[in-house]
């Protein structure tokens, strides 16, 4: 082990010296880009090899050069589109073609021969910073803006010169403001107190709590005198501002994560709210209906990838209805072959459907394998919007939140505004009376169960976007689903909404204090106590059907 350590320490020293030189060089490079030397093709070869020290040297050299070739190579490195050929030369992927990185001319290569140039994290960060620095000079404001973003996300002291140069030239006022803030992050230790004061105020205005750590040394300066006192007071005020921003972000974050967890529980539980809540079937195979929905999504995604990769981003458009229909069909089959024999015997239903759940799980293992399968988010569900500097709301969670409410909306429309819904409500409230009015009750049972199963399939489709898709998927959600339905009160959709959202929020509010496990235990105990107090849940059905 000592041998390794020794090697690293040596490296560390070398690297630091290297960085220092690079910083100097880059400063010169930015101020006088035309004087840079071009890189030799032989030097580039090192990128395709396995020696990371040599690769680092090339990256530094490219950052040095700062010409169009260097920018092209750095960009290819950054986008993972740089490939090495067996003879050691390199090729940049541009669309479906490959270009020579030095001349930017198309080259003929065999795709099988290519191996991607790999980077380590340190190198990747260097490439990103160097590229962003070079791109600050771009004529396109969009490129400049993205470069500023990149530098914000990874403040690198070596880019100060770039920033200062860009700050002088920037004409776009919004971008100028952000460049000022970027500059401020590097100017806190500036020898000129005036600069420091300006920097502190700019950082306070930015409101990004992540910057507290760089302000803290200034705010806690002990023996301040003269101008330093002003800087210190300004730093304290800015810090206070950032603390408030952090608090705000924490509160908003907790609320969002709670709602998001609630929406996941809601989607998992909604099908159960219909099959159990309305029809009274204890369906332990409910989790496996989620599973069918998720695997359907997986299959649809694969079909899209195989047959129309161009439209891959739209696969949910097909996956959602497919998941609904297939799961509804499975529900219909299950109802007709098994559950209809067990109406009125809820506990037997529970046991028989547990057997079904085992069968379906094992079937999933046989068909798709015991391992998880990969369901990729469409690109519009990746990433997130940054509402506050330290709070990102991920798109996939936002989409799921919206989807959950859409499903609830459609479900309640169907139950309350359509003939089928009317029949379902009639049959569940008074079966004999409904039969007397001419409703074919067995058909309604089957439709209602299939509908509930289909809604579960929709839930599975949504869950596939945030978690595992594997044979055990259903088991993870079944207990939570029952808890949400029971807490909300059987027989009421609105009960399930409040149940699921309540559980999500309580869990997330408690988690920071007690950790995930104790929070969950607390929630379960809470449900047990709650049922003691209100055996019929939050929203009890009123009437004489209590004994039923």
């Amino acid at each position: 082990m000592t041998e390794i350590t020794a090697r690293k320490t040596g490296n560390a020293l070398g690297r630091r010296v290297g960085l220092l030189f690079t910083a100097l060089w880059m400063g010169i490079a930015v101020l006088s880009p035309n004087t840079a030397r071009a890189i030799a093709p032989d030097q580039l070869k090192a990128l395709g090899e396995d020696d990371y020290d040599a690769k680092a040297a090339v990256v530094e050299q490219l950052a040095d050069d700062g010409d169009a070739t260097a920018e092209r190579v750095l960009k290819a490195l950054h986008d993972d589109t740089l490939f090495a050929l067996p003879d050691g030369s390199l090729a940049v992927q541009v669309g479906d073609a490959y270009h020579d990185p030095l001349t930017d001319q198309a080259v003929q290569v065999k795709a099988d021969d290519l191996s991607q140039v790999s980077l380590s994290n340190v190198l990747r960060a260097r490439v990103a910073a160097a590229l962003a620095g070079l791109q600050l000079r771009s004529a396109d404001p969009g490129v400049r803006s993205r470069a500023v973003d990149a530098l914000f996300s990874r403040p690198d002291p070596t880019v100060r010169k770039y920033v200062e140069a860009a700050r002088q030239k920037e004409t776009d006022s919004r971008l100028k403001g952000r460049l000022d803030q970027l500059w401020a992050m590097t100017a806190l230790q500036d020898p000129d107190p005036q600069h420091r004061l300006e920097a502190v105020q700019l950082i306070g205005d930015r409101g990004d709590p992540q910057l507290r750590s760089i302000l803290r040394p200034l705010a806690t300066m002990d023996n301040a005198s003269g101008d330093d006192v002003k800087v210190r007071d300004a730093a304290q005020a800015a810090l206070h501002k950032l603390d408030r921003a952090q608090f705000l972000a924490d509160m908003a974050g907790t609320a969002f994560t709670g709602l998001s967890l609630g929406s996941v529980l809601l989607l998992a539980a909604l099908g159960l709210a219909i099959t159990y809540g309305l029809i009274g079937v204890i369906n332990m195979a409910h989790g496996e209906f989620l599973l069918i929905g998720a695997y359907t999504t997986y299959v649809v995604q694969n079909l899209f990838r195989a047959y129309c990769p161009g439209a891959f981003d739209f696969y949910p458009v097909v996956a959602v209805p497919a998941a609904f229909l297939l799961t509804a069909l499975a529900g219909l089959v299950l109802e007709r072959t098994l559950i209809r024999w067990l109406y009125g015997r809820p506990l037997e239903t529970l046991l028989a459907t547990f057997g079904i759940s085992l069968l379906l799980m094992q079937a999933a293992r046989t068909v798709f394998g015991a391992q998880n399968v990969q369901v990729e988010n469409p690109s519009w569900m990746q990433g997130g919007i940054s509402v506050l500097p330290s709070l990102i709301l991920p798109y996939n969670r936002l989409v799921i939140l919206a989807f959950a409410f859409a499903v609830v909306g459609v479900t309640s429309l169907i139950l309350n505004r359509t003939r089928l819904g009317l029949y379902i409500r009639a049959v569940t409230q008074n079966r004999r009376m409904a039969a007397c009015t001419g409703i074919v009750t067995w058909k309604i049972d089957a439709y209602a169960f299939a509908f509930g199963a289909g809604v579960a399939g929709l839930g599975g489709c949504a869950l596939s976007q945030i978690g595992n898709v594997g044979p055990d998927l259903g088991q993870t959600y079944i207990i939570d689903s029952f808890m949400a339905v029971v807490l909300g009160g059987v027989g009421q959709l609105s009960g399930t909404i409040f149940g699921a959202m309540g559980l999500g929020l309580i869990s997330k509010v408690l988690e920071p204090f007690w950790g995930a496990v104790l929070a969950k235990i607390f929630v379960l105990i809470f449900i047990i106590l709650f049922i003691q107090k209100r055996p019929q849940g939050l929203f009890a059905l009123k009437g004489r059907s209590v004994e039923a």
């Binding site: 490296n11 790999s118 340190v122 330290s390 945030i466 595992n468 055990d472 869990s507 920071p512 995930a516």
Partner: protein, 441 residues
């Protein structure tokens, strides 16, 4: 007597009798009869996700050995049982394999608790278990050969890498794991190791989540907050299913490997199959083998694996991968074969002796040797996740490292035996003599 209940009594008795007769030990092995070996991996339940591949690769290796003439001219007949991720069932099945099927060796187990559950049975019946998964150490049984990594062969080199400037010169460490023995031990060792590197407790956070935890929103937000105070690395011992939601959340909240790298000890090619890896590029894993290694042994291993998958029409097809525990299973079986041939017998005591010092050219590109402490010497490699779900090796040791099952970073381990002592079965069967077993250094 009550007529209605008599048949029930008879039936109960009859079923018990059926169990008795159905499991009477089979005939004594013939000289040229196949050698039976056991495969003890969960094919159903929560662990099936990881263990099924190990069963497959074990069957593949036995087929390969049988094709090339078997062991000492005798074919190998694997007995596959399913302990169904149920720990007491592991004990029952191992007893069945050893006592009824009279297997020469057992290849199996994944979780530590399953190993702990079968260990007394193997020690009582003097069986031989080959355990192929990286684990927490703190154990050294004469009845087990550990072909996975001990903590010093996986965790510590990874952290050294993170501290080095090459790995990003991390100053703060967020240790996150599933709440069970392996993460707890690993983190205990790592904390002591970090102390030795001058890292303060205030720069170390330790968080545990339950099994199958699926919601990492709060924890990832905490990591972001923790990382505000300095260059942070996350060390993840999150197990199994929870990795997908964890990594998806990292991607969601924009935690990039360039700012906060995550190094994982339980995430390999198999786990990444269930994840879209593009947002995860650059996150790290530390193992002793990666599928992407380029060497002739590994090429042959992969080729054989895909031929096996195709021949048996296994689900997953050409999307199947190889990973570290699979390689460890493969190496373990081959070493056992060599040891049997060296000993000229499948007798456990003789094979155990012959195993020590056994060498095998493994798919990781090194010649691995079995140490007297029943652990393999293994090379350590650190790989970065690539967009295609494979790893590219960014750092590796020059030679295989010897395992330290008793970590020097855990107090009380000083003076623990350095190799498996020549204990006799009498001492092992219990009694105060156990505490006085000779300590060999």
């Amino acid at each position: 007597m009550n007529l209605l209940r008599t048949p029930a009594v008879i039936c109960t008795a009859a079923s018990l009798l059926a169990v008795t007769l159905g499991t009477v030990p089979s005939a004594v092995a013939q000289a040229d009869a196949p050698i039976k070996v056991g495969i003890l991996h969960s094919l159903s339940g929560t662990m099936a996700i990881s263990e099924t591949s190990l069963k497959d690769v074990a069957e593949m290796t036995f087929e390969e050995i049988n094709r090339s003439g078997g062991v000492m001219g005798r074919k190998i007949e694997p007995v596959v049982v399913d302990p169904a991720s149920n720990w007491p069932l592991f004990a029952e099945k191992s007893r069945q394999l050893l006592a009824n099927d009279k297997v020469a060796a057992v290849f199996g187990c994944w979780t530590s608790v399953s190993r702990k559950s079968v260990l007394p049975v193997f020690e009582e019946l003097n069986g031989l278990l080959f355990y192929p998964v990286q684990y927490e150490g703190e154990e050294m049984s004469r009845n087990v050969f550990y072909t996975g990594a001990a903590p010093n062969q996986q965790a510590i080199p990874a952290v050294e890498y993170l501290i080095s400037s090459e790995g990003g010169a991390a100053k703060r460490f967020f240790l996150i794991g599933t709440d069970y023995v392996y993460p707890r031990t690993t983190n205990k060792i790592l904390r002591a190791f970090l102390h030795s590197k001058g890292v303060q407790d205030s720069d170390i956070a330790e968080v545990y989540t339950p099994f199958s935890h699926g919601d990492y929103q709060t924890i990832v937000a905490d990591i972001k907050k923790f990382a505000q105070a300095g260059k942070t690395a996350v060390i993840s011992t999150i197990n199994g299913d929870s990795n997908v939601p964890f990594y998806k959340e990292l991607g969601n909240q924009g935690l990039k490997a360039t700012s906060v790298p995550v190094v994982a000890f339980s995430v390999g090619e198999e786990e990444l199959r269930g994840i879209d890896t593009k947002p995860l590029v650059g996150h790290l894993a530390s193992w002793n083998y990666f599928m992407s290694l380029k060497n002739p042994t590994n090429d042959a291993f992969k080729k054989e694996w895909f031929a096996f998958v195709a021949a048996h029409n296994l689900s997953g097809g050409d999307k199947r991968v190889t990973n570290d525990p699979m390689e460890a299973t493969y190496v373990g079986i081959h070493m056992w074969k060599q040891a049997v041939e060296k000993a000229g017998s499948t007798d456990v005591d003789k094979v155990r002796e012959a195993m020590i010092g056994q060498k095998f050219k493994a798919p990781d590109g090194f010649v691995l040797e079995m140490d007297a402490n029943h652990h393999l010497h293994k090379p350590v490699m650190i790989g970065e996740i690539r967009p295609d779900g494979q790893f590219s090796v960014v750092w590796k040791t020059k030679a295989p490292i010897r395992a330290q099952p008793w970590s020097p970073f855990i107090p009380g381990n000083e003076g623990k035996p350095d190799k498996v002592a020549a204990w006799t079965p009498e001492i092992l069967s219990g009694g105060p003599a156990l505490a006085m077993a000779p300590v060999v250094h």
